[in-house]
C-alpha cells in the first residue's frame, strides 16, 4: 500500500486538528506565536479580480490552520495572520504598501500579483532580503534571488490547453489571438500561444492587440472573424466576457480557447450554455473531482471550495486558490527550514529539487528564459466547460513542453519584443 503526498497532507491536517481539539488545545493556542504573511495586491480597480479573491482564499486556509492549533515550525507553534495592503495596481502605492508590510507589520513573506508593481518593489525587496512571490514569473531577472513564483507560471501553462485542443480537434488548423497590448500579461500570453500553436502545426492568422480603453468589442471581433479562424484564442483575462458575448452574437462556430474564464456563469447568462460549452481554459473550480487525484498538492480542495463559495459566493476567480497554494508552499518551506525567517525559508524551498507544486511534478525552472531558476513549473490542468460547468479534462506537463519547445517560445517572445536572457 502506497502512502501518497496527498495522504501525508491529509494526515498532517488531521493530526493538527486532533491535537487542537484535545484537552490541551486552549494551552496550545495560548502559547502559539504568530507569523504574519503579507499580501501587497490590488483589491480595488481593474486588477482587483486577481487580488482580493486570493486574500479571501488565504484567510480560509489560515483560519483552518489556526483553528486546528497552528503550524509547527522549528519546535514552535505558529498561528498565521494575513496582512493585506491594497495597492490598486499603482506602482507608487505598491512601494508604500510593501514597506508598510515589511517595516511596520513585520511580515515574513509578501505575496504579489506581479508586473509593474513587482518591478517597483524589487530593488528594495532585494536589499531587505525579503521573500516575495509573484504570479508572473516573467518578473524574475538574473538578480531577483528573493523573488519566486511557486504556483502560477503565467503564461506557460497555456501550452497545455493548446496541446489538448490540437490532439482532440485536429480539424482546427488556423487560430486568431486577441489580447491587450501590454508586456506584462497580454504579449506574454500571445507569445506563448503563438509558440504552442506553431508547435502543433496550427497557423496563426491574426494577432489582434488592443488597449485598455476599449468599451465596445464588436469591431475587434468582426475584424478577427473576417479572417475565418478555426480557433478564437483569448490571451487576456480582462475582457473575456465582452469578447465571448460578441463571438456569440456574431455567430462564431469554431473552437474557443482562453487563458481564464472567470465568472463563466455570467458569460453563460449573457450568451448560452450551448455556446460556452466546449470552451477550453486553464483554471479549475475546486469542487472538481479530478482535484482529488494524488498528484494534487492542496488539502481538501472540495472543502475549500465549499467554504469559499459560502463566504464569497460571487468572488471566485483564478487566484482564489493560487495565493493559498503559495501560502501552503511557504508553510512547507518554513517547516523544512525550521524557521520563519525569509532567507531560511527561501533556502529551504530552493534546496528542494522536487518542490511541492499544486498540480504535481514541479521543479525549479526559468534560467533559460529569465535568467534564474526561481519559478516552479510542473503539471497544469486543462479545463473544459461541459454542461455549463468547468471540468478538468486532464493534467499536462508544462515542463515536458518546455523541454521540447523552449527555443520556439524564446523566438516568439523576442518577436514580440519581450525580455529574455
Amino acid at each position: 500500500m502506497s502512502f501518497s503526498r496527498r495522504d501525508l497532507l491529509r494526515a498532517s491536517v488531521a493530526s493538527v486538528v486532533a491535537a487542537g481539539s484535545g484537552t490541551f488545545s486552549g494551552n496550545l493556542l495560548a502559547a502559539n506565536k504568530t507569523v504574519k504573511i503579507g499580501m501587497n495586491i490590488p483589491m480595488t480597480g481593474d486588477y482587483a479580480p486577481w487580488g482580493l479573491p486570493g486574500l479571501y482564499g488565504c484567510q480560509i486556509v489560515a483560519d483552518d490552520i489556526n483553528a486546528a492549533g497552528g503550524v509547527s515550525i522549528g519546535g514552535d507553534k505558529y498561528n498565521i495572520e494575513m496582512v493585506a495592503y491594497d495597492h490598486g495596481y499603482d506602482t507608487e502605492k505598491a512601494v508604500q504598501g510593501y514597506k508598510k508590510l515589511v517595516l511596520q507589520d513585520k511580515v515574513k513573506m509578501v505575496m504579489m500579483l506581479g508586473g509593474s508593481t513587482v518591478a517597483s518593489i524589487l530593488p528594495w525587496a532585494q536589499r531587505r532580503k525579503m521573500l516575495t512571490t509573484t504570479l508572473l514569473p516573467s518578473d524574475i531577472t538574473e538578480k531577483s534571488e528573493y523573488l519566486i513564483a511557486t504556483c502560477e507560471s503565467h503564461p506557460l501553462y497555456n501550452v497545455t490547453g493548446v496541446d489538448y485542443l490540437a490532439e482532440n480537434f485536429p480539424e482546427a488548423k488556423t487560430a486568431a489571438i486577441v489580447t491587450n497590448n501590454d508586456a506584462e500579461y497580454g504579449l506574454q500570453s500571445a507569445a506563448t500561444y503563438k509558440a504552442a500553436f506553431e508547435a502543433n502545426g496550427i497557423e496563426v492568422v491574426d494577432v489582434n492587440l488592443h488597449g485598455f480603453d476599449i468599451t465596445d468589442f464588436a469591431p475587434i471581433v468582426s475584424s478577427v472573424l473576417a479572417k475565418k479562424p478555426d480557433i478564437f484564442c483569448m490571451a487576456t483575462s480582462f475582457y473575456v466576457t465582452p469578447l465571448m458575448e460578441q463571438l456569440y452574437h456574431q455567430g462564431f462556430k469554431g473552437k474557443i480557447i482562453s487563458c481564464t474564464l472567470d465568472f463563466y456563469d455570467e458569460i453563460i447568462a449573457k450568451t448560452s450554455q450551448e455556446f460556452v460549452d466546449g470552451t477550453i481554459f486553464q483554471f479549475p473550480d475546486f469542487d472538481d473531482p479530478k482535484l482529488n487525484e494524488d498528484i494534487v498538492n492542496f488539502p481538501n480542495p472540495g472543502d475549500f471550495d465549499a467554504k469559499y463559495r459560502a463566504a464569497h459566493p460571487n468572488d471566485w476567480s483564478a487566484v482564489s486558490w493560487e495565493y493559498p497554494a503559495i501560502l501552503l508552499n511557504w508553510i512547507e518551506g518554513a517547516k523544512a527550514a525550521g524557521s520563519v525567517e525569509p532567507t531560511d525559508v527561501l533556502n529551504a524551498l530552493k534546496s528542494n529539487s522536487r518542490p511541492e507544486f499544486i498540480f504535481g511534478g514541479g521543479h525549479w525552472w526559468g534560467k533559460e528564459l529569465w535568467g534564474l531558476d526561481n519559478a516552479v513549473v510542473g503539471f497544469w490542468p486543462v479545463v473544459v466547460v461541459e454542461g455549463g460547468k468547468a471540468r478538468i479534462k486532464e493534467f499536462r506537463s508544462v515542463s515536458g513542453w518546455l523541454k521540447r519547445n523552449k527555443d520556439l517560445l524564446i523566438k516568439h517572445m523576442k518577436e514580440l519584443g519581450l525580455r529574455t536572457v
Binding site: 483589491m43 480595488t44 480597480g45 481593474d46 482587483a48 479580480p49 482580493l52 479573491p53 491594497d86 497590448n181 489582434n208 492587440l209 488592443h210 488597449g211 480603453d213 476599449i214 468599451t215 465596445d216 464588436a218 469591431p219 475587434i220 468582426s222 475584424s223 473576417a226 480582462f238 475582457y239 466576457t241 465582452p242 458575448e245 452574437h249 456574431q250 455567430g251 472567470d262 465568472f263 455570467e266 447568462a269 449573457k270 460571487n314 468572488d315 476567480s317
Partner: protein
C-alpha cells in the same frame, strides 16, 4: 464588403452612445462654463443603478433604466446646487469640485458594489437580428441605438422648438446678454445639468449590459467625450452629435482594419490635429474678445 457594412452598423451604434454623453458634457459646459470631469462617473452611476436594481434585485430593465436616469439626474442637480452654483463665478473652482465628485462617486460605487471584479448585467434583450445572411446585430445593441436616436431627437426638438430650449441656447451663447433679456440663469443652469446628467444616466443604463461595469469605467468615457467635444467644437451641441458619429465610425474602422491599439492612438492624434488646425472644431464658432 460584409465587414465594411458591419463596421458601419457598429460605428453608428457606438456613435449613439458617444453622442449621449458628449452632448451632456457640452450642454453643461456651454450653459454653466464648467468642465465637468465627473461626467464619466455620471455614466458609471447609471450603469451601476442597472446592475444593482435590475441584475441584483430582478426589477425589469425598462423601469430600471428610467430609475437610472432619475438617479443620475438627482446627482447632477445636487452637484449644481451645492458645488457649481456657489462657485459659479470661478470656472476653476467648478472644475476642481467636479474632480472631487469624480473620486467621491467612485468610492460610493465601490462601497455599494463591493471591491473585486467588474460587474456584469445579462442583456434584457436576447437574440440577434440577421440581415442579408451576414449582418448580425444583437437586439440589445439595436435597442441602444434606437433609444439614443430617440433621446437626441427629443433633445433637438426641446432646444429648437420650445421657449425653454431657446433660453438654454441663449445662455450657452452669451450668459450676460441672456440675463439682460430676463432669462433666469440659475433656472437654466439647473435644467442644463439636469438634461446633461439625464443623458449620461441614459448612456450608462444602455451601456450596462454591453460592457464591464466598475467604479473606474468613467475614465474611458470622459476621454472619449473630450475628444468628441473638441472635434465637434467646444460648446456646439450639433457639433458634438456630428463628431460623436464621425469619431465612432473613424474609431471602428481603424480598429477593424488596423487594430485597437492603433485606433486609440489615432483618436488622440485626431484630437491634437483638430486643436492645431481648427481649434474651433467642426461646428465651433470663433469668438473675438
Amino acid at each position: 464588403m460584409e465587414l465594411f457594412f458591419l463596421s458601419i452598423i457598429n460605428g453608428l451604434i457606438q456613435g449613439g452612445f458617444f453622442a449621449l454623453f458628449a452632448v451632456g458634457l457640452v450642454l453643461i459646459f456651454g450653459v454653466m462654463g464648467v468642465v465637468n470631469f465627473a461626467h464619466g462617473e455620471l455614466v458609471m452611476v447609471g450603469a451601476y443603478t442597472i446592475w444593482l436594481v435590475h441584475a441584483q434585485h430582478g426589477v425589469a430593465y425598462i423601469p430600471t433604466l428610467i430609475l437610472a436616469i432619475l438617479v443620475v439626474t438627482g446627482v447632477g442637480l445636487l452637484m449644481e446646487r451645492f458645488l457649481f452654483r456657489p462657485t459659479r463665478n470661478d470656472p476653476l473652482a467648478g472644475l476642481i469640485c467636479s474632480i472631487g465628485v469624480l473620486f467621491i462617486l467612485q468610492v460610493i460605487a465601490t462601497l455599494v458594489g463591493g471591491e473585486g471584479p467588474s460587474k456584469q448585467v445579462p442583456p434584457p434583450f436576447h437574440g440577434t437580428l440577421v440581415l442579408f445572411e451576414f449582418l448580425r446585430i444583437p437586439y440589445q445593441r439595436l435597442f441602444g441605438l434606437g433609444i439614443s436616436v430617440l433621446a437626441l431627437a427629443t433633445l433637438w426638438y426641446f432646444l429648437t422648438r420650445t421657449r425653454l430650449g431657446w433660453a438654454l441656447r441663449a445662455v450657452a451663447l452669451d450668459r450676460e446678454a441672456a440675463a439682460l433679456q430676463g432669462i433666469n440663469i440659475t433656472r437654466i443652469s439647473v435644467i442644463a445639468i439636469g438634461v446633461g446628467a439625464a443623458l449620461a444616466g441614459l448612456a450608462g443604463g444602455l451601456m450596462a449590459p454591453l460592457t464591464n461595469i466598475n467604479p473606474h469605467m468613467g475614465h474611458n468615457v470622459i476621454i472619449t467625450a473630450f475628444i468628441v467635444t473638441i472635434v465637434g467644437g467646444v460648446g456646439s451641441l450639433s457639433g458634438a452629435v456630428y463628431a460623436a458619429v464621425l469619431y465612432a465610425l473613424f474609431h471602428t474602422f481603424v480598429t477593424v482594419y488596423f487594430g485597437g491599439t492603433v485606433a486609440t492612438i489615432c483618436g488622440l492624434i485626431l484630437m491634437v490635429v483638430v486643436l492645431i488646425v481648427r481649434p474651433t472644431g467642426i461646428m465651433g464658432v470663433r469668438v473675438s474678445e
